[in-house]
């Protein structure tokens, strides 16, 4: 799961996004065109409701989802997240805006083309499972293939493959009503996967499950995603779930997308008070990583260039008694202490080599605060953050900020 912390939500501009949503607007009510006009004139949702009786469910939502990305849309009930999701495969017709899947505009498809898209490219998993009660588990899983017109033998074979993938072996001939909620949702997931879609829409897929089962299903979904690299759009009202699962998260409120970013971006730089009020309750230790805490321009003692005298001058200028020692091309060597640099100087040695403490723990940019906790206990030094590939010093985290991060909840 390290992958999620490597980027900062930066898009690969050379590649077309898997799914691009542009100014998607959804209005419920008879006079939606009038309402849309008013919306474009900048009227508020309340004004539009008064004037036309129409509800604006989604307002100018725009975001992009990359291929293989786990994208979570998070919002409370009534935020429009489920409606937005249903616009993506047009279970609900959007009022305005574009949805581009691989560059093809879904909103412009005719009925037959839309059915093909739903059969082959976009599958959906539902909060209430939506299984057919009169069919067995295997028949339910094969249902999407059956709708495509696949012959029974072939579709059952494919469904059987998926059965193993989601851990339903032995349950094939049971009816959905004979299964627990968690098992039923496995059937829902298997049914969606049987079509081998590129995009998976998951509408509060785990919200109806017990907390313990939910966590287990989340883990299994992440494992599956490691193998399959589907593009997943996952809806939830639970920020913990969003953070656990999402490569990126979009936060919705009152039909608007307020913020899109990696879990860490959302935690460290909430777009507004609404987002921060959510973020407060989250266990930041597991989310915040070294890269967002570090001072990227620390004062360094450069080995051979800075001798004992030069190092002491830097310590005096910054008021620090510990400095990281690096080579001229910034390879991290260790730390030097004020007292030992003084001793080296007293002995008249030309370099600080003897004063460098080389055997110190380092962090990588994606190391979480939780993983850094032992550092606080063991040493009194700051934490050096290095590039895992070439050991270059990227930044420094002071003991103070590490302690504040683990004890207080103030944004960094």
């Amino acid at each position: 799961m390290e992958k999620r912390f490597t980027g900062s939500g930066q898009l690969n501009t050379l590649q077309m996004p898997k799914l691009q949503i542009d100014n998607l607007t959804l209005i419920f009510g008879r006079e939606r065109q009038t309402a849309l006009q008013l919306l474009r004139e900048g009227k508020s949702k309340a004004d539009i409701l008064d004037a036309t009786g129409c509800t604006v469910a989604v307002k100018n939502a725009s975001f992009q989802v990359e291929k293989g990305e786990f994208f979570v849309i998070m919002g409370l009930s009534g935020s429009g997240k489920s409606s937005l999701l249903r616009c993506l495969n047009r279970l609900i017709e959007p009022t305005a805006g574009d949805i581009l899947l691989n560059g093809t505009n879904i909103t412009a498809l005719n009925e037959a083309a839309l059915q093909q898209t739903r059969r082959k490219e976009i599958s959906m998993v539902f909060q209430k499972f939506g299984l057919l009660p009169h069919r067995t588990v295997l028949e339910n899983i094969a249902f999407g293939l059956e709708l495509q017109g696949m012959a029974p033998r072939e579709r059952n074979a494919k469904a059987t493959e998926v059965v193993e993938l989601v851990g339903l072996k032995g349950y094939e001939q049971m009816l959905p009503s004979e299964l627990s909620g968690g098992m039923q949702q496995r059937v829902g997931l298997a049914r969606a996967l049987a079509n081998d879609p590129e995009v998976l829409l998951m509408d509060e897929a785990f919200s109806a499950l017990d907390p313990l089962i939910r966590t287990q299903m989340q883990d299994e979904l992440l494992d599956l995603q490691e193998k399959m690299h589907k593009t997943i759009i996952f809806i939830t009202h639970d920020l913990d779930e969003a953070i656990r699962l999402g490569d990126r998260i979009a936060i919705m409120k009152d039909g608007e997308v307020i913020q899109v970013g990696t879990p860490e971006e959302i935690l460290t730089a909430p777009a507004n008070d609404y987002v921060s009020s959510f973020v407060e309750k989250v266990d930041r230790k597991t989310i915040i990583t070294a890269s967002s805490m570090m001072d990227t321009k620390p004062t360094m003692a450069v080995f051979r260039k800075d001798g004992p005298e030069g190092s002491l001058r830097k310590m005096r200028a910054t008021g620090l008694d510990i400095l990281p020692a690096v080579t001229v091309d910034k390879h991290f060597l260790g730390f030097v202490y004020l007292r030992e640099v003084l001793e080296v100087k007293k002995r008249g040695e030309p370099t600080i080599e003897a004063a460098i403490h080389r055997d110190v723990p380092v962090a990588y940019p994606d190391t979480t605060v939780e993983q850094m906790l032992p550092f606080i206990a063991e040493t009194d030094k700051p934490v050096a953050v290095v590039d895992p590939k070439n050991n270059k010093l990227l930044g420094l985290i002071s003991q103070t900020s590490l302690i504040i991060e683990t004890t207080g909840n103030q944004p960094v």
Binding site: L132, P133, G144
Partner: protein, 276 residues
């Protein structure tokens, strides 16, 4: 004074005069259907018919109903009303099948289309609450006396439950299942046949049961326009004040009603799957 009666009369007359050939064709077709079913029921030896019906009742509804069917039908035969009973049964079967063939699609349409549903509702109320005898009048005007007007009146009287319960059954299919089906790219036809109708089946079969029961009651009434069958026996009992005859006919009707009801109801109850 508003003379609705006059308008309706004019309308029916217009229909009779202008659609004569149509009614004639319908009459020939329906007559052929009733006669062939009746032929099948009467030319098969009575003990075979009794045995088959008893077997069906036993398989579908258990040994109790099976035994009752066996005894009941034997009693009818013993009372000497076998011919009339089979005549009535033929009328019921033909009317009910036609009523269902029209009613179920109408019910589906009403479930799918709001406007159709809104129009059909009062129409069904009207058809169901209008005193049954009233249908006999236009039936006779269109088709003369005999079996065919009986079938016509019966279809109109017996169709509403099929329409209503089909609509109800389809509307009761949970929204999340319909949504899930659509999300996998189902066409409306696939949605209907693979999901909605199977899930609506218990309710729909309750409609079939009611249609058959209403057909039975109407078929008896249509003896007034010479449709024949058990109704004729009862009618003779009334007109000639022969209480014994009336009751005999009545008992035969009751036996037939119970058998039809139990057998058709058994199709509505889902077979219980063995629990794992």
């Amino acid at each position: 004074m508003i003379k609705i009666g006059t308008y309706i009369e004019q309308f029916i007359n217009w229909l009779t005069h202008n659609c004569g050939p149509f009614f004639k064709t319908v009459k020939v077709g329906v007559e052929a259907m009733v006669n062939s079913v009746q032929w099948l029921l009467t030319f098969t030896p009575f003990y075979v018919v009794i045995a088959l019906l008893a077997l069906l009742a036993w398989r579908r509804a258990g040994w109790g109903v099976g035994t009752m069917t066996l005894l009941g039908l034997s009693l009818i035969y013993g009372m000497g009303y076998w011919g009339q009973t089979m005549e009535t049964l033929a009328l019921i079967l033909v009317s009910a099948v036609i009523a269902l063939l029209i009613g179920i699609p109408l019910g589906i349409w009403a479930a799918k289309n709001n406007t159709a549903g809104k129009v059909m509702r009062p129409l069904m109320d009207f058809m169901q609450t209008m005193p049954a005898f009233v249908y006999l009048i236009p039936a006779v005007l269109f088709f003369g006396l005999g079996k065919v007007p009986g079938v016509f009146a019966t279809i109109i009287f017996a169709m509403p439950p099929a329409v209503r319960l089909t609509t109800l059954g389809i509307k009761q299919v949970p929204e999340d299942i319909v949504e899930a089906t659509r999300s996998f790219g189902a066409t409306s036809r696939q949605l209907l046949f693979k999901v909605e109708l199977p899930l609506a089946m218990p309710t729909l079969l309750a409609g079939v049961n009611q249609t058959i029961m209403m057909a039975l009651s109407m078929v008896v009434i249509s003896a007034m326009i010479a449709a024949g069958g058990l109704g004729e026996v009862v009618l003779k009992g009334i007109t000639q004040l022969k209480i014994g005859l009336g009751f005999e006919g009545g008992i035969a009707v009751v036996i037939l009603a119970i058998i039809l009801d139990r057998i058709t109801q058994s199709f509505g109850k889902k077979k219980q799957r063995a629990k794992h």
